[in-house]
């Protein structure tokens, strides 16, 4: 029973990674950039919910909505100001460094407004959770909500990409920007939409992450951001089901190794799995292998 509890906790953490990784993988697929500031959007989302619910007393659902809208605007704004001017720059590193700059900026804005002391975050899920097998297996409400949310998001995203015009436009832009422009797709709008969706997802991930691990500091988002990126790469970057699988795998491995091997080495084990998988399959689990042509 104990093992089952840990496994479920792992799946829950993995779902959070998966939601973040979805944002990462979409942005990477389309803008071909490592968005190092993505993790910090999660943190900003967390602070927005914290302010809305603790300071202004909104109920949790309204706070989440405020946070999603806030992060969506933030995402589109950073794309417009910091990333768009560098889209055709001579080196890919330029936009990477700008993203790092944005990441520093968001962390320090949060530090200035909210201070370095951790804020205790009250969970957005008030439901106690389930008690199965005569009370031996307890599952927290947050855990169940997290897993369900990620499943809903995955399905909605798949439908959006495969069934709607904007979704198809995203696929086209990620495939070939030039050809997509010739087909009459507004590339700027599509990229902007991708950032909006990615940042909105980050806000939801922020709500779930802070509900499960209720301390909020300006650096809360950094490590989950990096791990979600690892998850995205593990699943094959650019692939939506891949991000989901990568996230779940990472979460389960992290929780189980924390419990059964060592707390300090859990991160090392997570990163080691990434290395092993990339050695066997250099484009990730579900990544497409593109042959280089001369």
């Amino acid at each position: 029973m104990n093992f089952l509890t840990y496994l479920i906790n792992g799946i829950s953490l993995g779902s959070i990674y998966a939601i973040i990784a979805l944002g990462y993988t979409m942005v990477y697929g389309i803008a071909k950039m490592l968005n190092f500031a993505h993790g910090d959007v999660i943190m900003i989302g967390g602070y927005l919910i914290y302010t809305a619910s603790s300071t202004y007393g909104f109920n949790p659902l309204v706070s989440i909505l405020i946070s999603v809208v806030g992060c969506t605007i933030l995402g589109m704004l950073t794309e417009k100001v910091a990333y768009k001017p560098l889209r055709n720059a001579a080196s890919n590193l330029a936009v990477l460094i700008t993203a790092i700059g944005v990441s520093y900026f968001l962390q320090n804005i949060a530090l200035l407004i909210f201070g370095a002391n951790p804020k205790s975050f009250s969970s957005v899920v008030t439901w106690e959770g389930l008690s199965l097998a005569g009370g031996e297996l307890k599952i927290q409400g947050v855990t169940i909500v997290t897993i369900l949310t990620s499943v809903v998001i995955l399905i909605a995203l798949q439908l959006f990409i495969n069934k709607t015009k904007s979704g198809q436009a995203m696929l086209a832009v990620s495939e070939d920007k030039g050809a997509a422009t010739l087909m009459g797709i507004n590339v700027n709008k599509t990229i902007s939409l991708t950032f909006a969706i990615g940042s909105g997802l980050a806000a939801i991930a922020g709500a779930l992450l802070c509900s499960a691990y209720p301390t909020l500091t300006p650096y809360t988002g950094a490590m989950p951001g990096i791990k979600a990126f690892v998850a995205a790469v593990l699943g094959g970057i650019g692939s939506i089901p891949g991000a989901m699988i990568g996230g779940l795998l990472l979460g389960v491995v992290e929780i189980l190794s924390k419990r059964y091997i060592s707390t300090q080495l859990a991160d090392a084990i997570v990163f080691a799995i990434l290395i092993i998988i990339l050695l066997v399959k250099p484009t990730g689990l579900l990544g497409k292998n593109i042959q280089e042509k001369v």
């Binding site: 001017p85 300090q264 991160d267 990339l278």
Partner: protein
């Protein structure tokens, strides 16, 4: 003796470093250097050294590495281990020289071992795997316990009690205590000059040209018979080794060495990458200048307390936009040609 353009450029780089050293020494002798600034000199120099090392990987080899803090960590820990173990039995100068050699060689070995899997990957995959290796190194060194007693050498991931006479060398998260402070600004500058000498000469050698041809077009260079794996490995190992040397300077500058994110996390690798990109990708001299200025800048802004990193981040974004945005470059070139025309008249 007639100097070629290249060797003239290299000499200017050494000249800048030496001039800077002399200015600092004069300031120090005349008492114009605050003790706070004095404390920043060695860190500034070892970050410049790592920036030179990383520029070899990023600028010359053209692969993005986010794990150079890991190589620093290897160099720092292996050299500190040696220095702590031989503190009572060996004299200072020789011990520090050997520590430098050990740190460098260990980082080179790890660079080779990590390079075998990593250099098969491409682009951002390579970047994330180097980041992963850096984090693994940091996490393992933060969790390991190493000590010796009458029963011999013990190594474990759990803390243990020593039997009888003995000493704890690496104490888990507490790291290595009591490294002798052998680093000095003079030694650091000498090592910076040596690193510059190695990298600049490599770049202008036959090997360097082979490495740069791989960066510019791997398939074309492969087809003219360049051993891609060998040259990629050569650049990566040299880069790792130099980062390891900087790590030795780091660990012998503070008495307590811990493998925390502040010193060896991926954010340190990213910070160094920022130095390299702002100094100019592939521009070795630029790396040294950018690393020195950008390391000192936040320290100079300390009076602004919480605002300093905010200002730093805005400056970083603005510099990148001005330097790299195609629109900004267009505008700049227009004004430059306008100015030139005006002065030509």
């Amino acid at each position: 003796m007639k100097l070629t353009k290249v060797s003239k450029r290299n000499l200017i780089t050494y000249g800048i470093v030496i001039a800077f050293y002399i200015i600092i020494q004069i300031l120090n002798l005349t008492g114009n250097l605050s003790s706070h600034m004095e404390g920043l000199l060695v860190p500034m120099t070892y970050y410049s050294i790592v920036a030179v090392a990383l520029n070899l990987t990023v600028g010359i080899l053209g692969e993005l590495s986010l794990g150079h803090a890991g190589f620093m960590c290897i160099g720092a820990f292996s050299a500190s281990l040696f220095s702590v173990a031989t503190k009572e039995t060996m004299n200072g100068g020789l011990r520090f020289f050997l520590a430098l050699v050990i740190g460098t060689v260990m980082a080179a070995i790890f660079g080779f071992l990590i390079g075998i899997p990593v250099l098969r990957l491409k682009g951002d995959y390579l970047a994330i795997v180097t980041l992963a290796f850096g984090e693994i190194i940091k996490n393992i060194l933060a969790a390991v316990y190493l000590g010796y007693d009458e029963a011999g050498l013990h190594i474990s991931f759990k803390s243990f009690v020593l039997q009888g006479e003995g000493k704890m060398l690496i104490n888990g998260a507490m790291g290595i205590q009591g490294t002798p402070s052998d680093s000095s600004f003079t030694i650091a500058i000498v090592i910076l000059l040596i690193s510059l000498f190695i990298v600049q000469n490599l770049v202008n050698s036959r090997d360097g040209r082979a490495i740069m041809s791989i960066r510019d077009n791997r398939i074309a260079s492969e087809s003219v018979g360049i051993n891609v794996v060998k040259y990629k490995m050569l650049a990566f190992v040299i880069s790792a080794a130099i980062a390891g040397t900087a790590g030795v300077l780091f660990s012998h500058n503070t008495s307590t060495l811990t493998a925390t994110s502040t010193y060896f996390g991926y954010n340190v690798s990213i910070m160094i990458l920022v130095y390299v990109v702002l100094g100019g990708i592939g521009n070795i001299r630029g790396s040294v200048i950018a690393a020195s200025i950008l390391y000192i800048l936040p320290e100079m802004l300390r009076g602004l307390s919480n605002y300093r990193m905010l200002i730093y981040s805005i400056v970083l974004i603005v510099i990148m936009l001005i330097n790299w945005a195609p629109k900004a470059i267009e505008v700049r070139e227009k004004y430059v040609t306008l100015l030139k025309r005006r002065f030509a008249k």
